[in-house]
């Protein structure tokens, strides 16, 4: 090509190659197939859809008006629900901190301790709070203690995972500076790293507490204390007007805890 000829630029530009376009369509086809498979495998009774709106309207009618006379009876379990969430979260914080340092690559002692830390994280997180509740009801017997243990067991992994990530992302500079003063390992963690991850620790703790208030409201289903017991009993007795009162009460508590959690997290700097 001669140097003084006007340079020609392409007038066609495609974001994807034909191969990439084909791959995109194949992914969509795969998703459609997976959906169709799920529907057919679940053997859904489509006739139930026909009168679903009638059933829903009927349920709403049976719920209304809420039986406010039931409210005094559920105040104590409601408070108990919040206590379960709070105590469970507090216990989780205590255990999550050492676990986080164990599960963070830059603070764990070696590959083995890291694997142990990660294993504990996964074990805690992969089991639902209600399942933990079932397990601890078997251990401690029914009651709020099982609920507290269940909330703590599930929250430890949640808190430790997020704090471990914060530890791994902590600025290396201050850590280096504290190391160079001749501080011991524990002091390096305490002065060099902990202040850096404290906002994350406080923020996730408050957020987890808020989640735990919601989760504690169903722990009563498996006998692990709290308002869930009253909800479960009311449903089983078809006392729909009581069910509505319980649901409204839970709604108010959840809104309040969420607002408190958002407010506290907003103030952390």
């Amino acid at each position: 090509m001669s140097a003084n000829a006007a340079k020609r630029y392409p007038e066609v530009w495609r974001r994807r190659t034909p191969g990439e376009t084909l791959a995109g369509w194949l992914w969509i086809a795969a998703a459609a197939f997976a959906t169709a498979w799920s529907v057919s495998a679940l053997d859904i009774e489509w006739v139930f859809f026909k009168d679903a709106h009638v059933q829903a309207a009927d349920l709403a009618e049976r719920m209304w008006p809420p039986r406010w006379a039931y409210l005094p009876q559920i105040l104590a379990p409601l408070v108990e629900t919040i206590h379960i969430a709070t105590l469970g979260t507090a216990i989780a914080v205590v255990f999550s901190l050492p676990l986080a340092f164990l599960a963070a690559r830059n603070t764990t002692a070696n590959g083995f301790t890291w694997a142990v830390g990660r294993g504990l994280l996964v074990a805690s997180r992969s089991v639902n709070t209600v399942i933990w509740g079932l397990i601890f009801v078997a251990v401690f017997g029914p009651g709020p203690l099982a609920g507290v243990a269940a909330v703590a067991a599930r929250s430890v992994g949640f808190l430790a995972k997020l704090v471990a990530e914060a530890i791994e992302e902590a600025d290396r500079g201050p850590v280096e500076a504290i190391e160079s003063t001749g501080a011991g390992t524990g002091q390096v963690y305490l002065i060099g790293i902990l202040p850096q991850v404290l906002p994350v620790l406080i923020g996730t703790t408050v957020y987890r507490w808020d989640i735990n208030v919601r989760e504690s409201s169903v722990l009563g289903f498996v006998g692990a204390g709290g308002i869930g017991l009253q909800l479960y009993a009311s449903i089983n007795q078809f006392m729909w007007q009581q069910v509505l009162v319980v649901l409204l009460a839970i709604l108010v508590v959840v809104i309040l805890s969420e607002a408190a959690s958002a407010w506290i997290r907003g103030r952390i700097s």
């Binding site: 600025d171 500079g173 201050p174 280096e176 500076a177 504290i178 190391e179 160079s180 003063t181 001749g182 501080a183 011991g184 524990g186 002091q187 305490l190 002065i191 060099g192 202040p195 850096q196 404290l198 906002p199």
Partner: protein
């Protein structure tokens, strides 16, 4: 704060054939040897990647040297087991380019963190430092020009103020030597001069040597009495600041017009 016993003792710092090869195979330091015999400010100059940071970090073993020897007074640092290494690190104060303060802690907590090597874990958790340390910290705050700022959070300070805290923290250790890594690279030219002057005068007051990595050749020459030149991990110059000639700079950095970089001898700027 007793002065080091004078006499024909071993040098304050003796580096012998110090070599660092990083896992990738890069030879950051190649048989670097020098000694520091008296308390003075020694500037280490060289291009980026010449090994200045590695040299300083190998002395307190934030970076593990591959071979060679680092003697701080009578103590051989290379090969020290962890507990003794921590003991040795107490005697080495370090000042950083990015200040490396713990941002969310107060100025006082940052200053007192220089004492961590001498207090236990529980004491540091409860922030219960010995009364003498606290009095020294207040005096230090005054000395570095930050009196009254003890309760400010470190991240609320300006760059120059933060570096003053960094200097104070290093001196709180009452170190035998100061290692200073690019103390002015994050600062404006005027603040940079003030910081270099502060480091120089504190080192002189306490009769301690300071080994200062620095990019700015004019600052190096203005505030140090001796200069070490590193090139690709090798020590290519070791001499009085006054002997830094264009020929030497070409040896260290490569060919360039150096005539405007070097201050003509005698034009020494002091004051303030």
């Amino acid at each position: 704060m007793a002065a080091a016993p004078a006499g024909a003792k071993p040098p304050l710092l003796a580096i012998d054939k110090l070599t660092k090869v990083y896992p990738g195979g890069a030879r950051a330091l190649d048989a670097v040897s020098f000694t520091i015999e008296r308390p003075e400010v020694i500037a280490v100059i060289g291009s980026s990647g010449a090994g200045k940071s590695t040299l300083i970090r190998c002395i307190n073993r934030l970076v593990e040297p591959t071979s060679g020897s680092v003697r701080l007074g009578a103590t051989e640092i290379v090969g020290l087991p962890p507990a003794q290494l921590r003991q040795a690190r107490r005697r080495i104060g370090m000042i950083f380019q990015e200040f490396n303060l713990v941002d969310r802690l107060t100025v006082m907590e940052n200053l007192l963190s220089g004492r961590l090597g001498s207090v236990g874990f529980l004491a540091s958790f409860l922030r219960r430092y010995p009364p003498r340390d606290i009095a020294n910290a207040f005096a230090m705050l005054d000395r570095v020009g930050l009196a009254g700022l003890q309760d400010s959070r470190a991240d609320a300070l300006s760059g120059g103020q933060r570096q003053r805290v960094g200097i104070g923290r290093a001196l709180m250790q009452d170190p035998d030597i100061l290692l200073v890594d690019e103390p002015t690279a994050s600062l404006d030219p005027k603040t940079a001069r003030q910081i270099m002057r502060l480091i120089g005068s504190l080192a002189a007051e306490r009769e301690r040597p300071a080994l200062v990595n620095i990019h700015d050749v004019a600052l190096a020459q203005g505030f140090s009495s001796r200069i070490l030149g590193l090139k690709a991990g090798r020590l290519v110059f070791d001499g009085p600041s006054a002997e830094l000639t264009p020929a030497v700079l070409t040896e260290i950095y490569g060919a360039e017009d150096w005539s405007r970089t070097i201050r003509p001898a005698g034009e020494d700027e002091e004051g303030a």
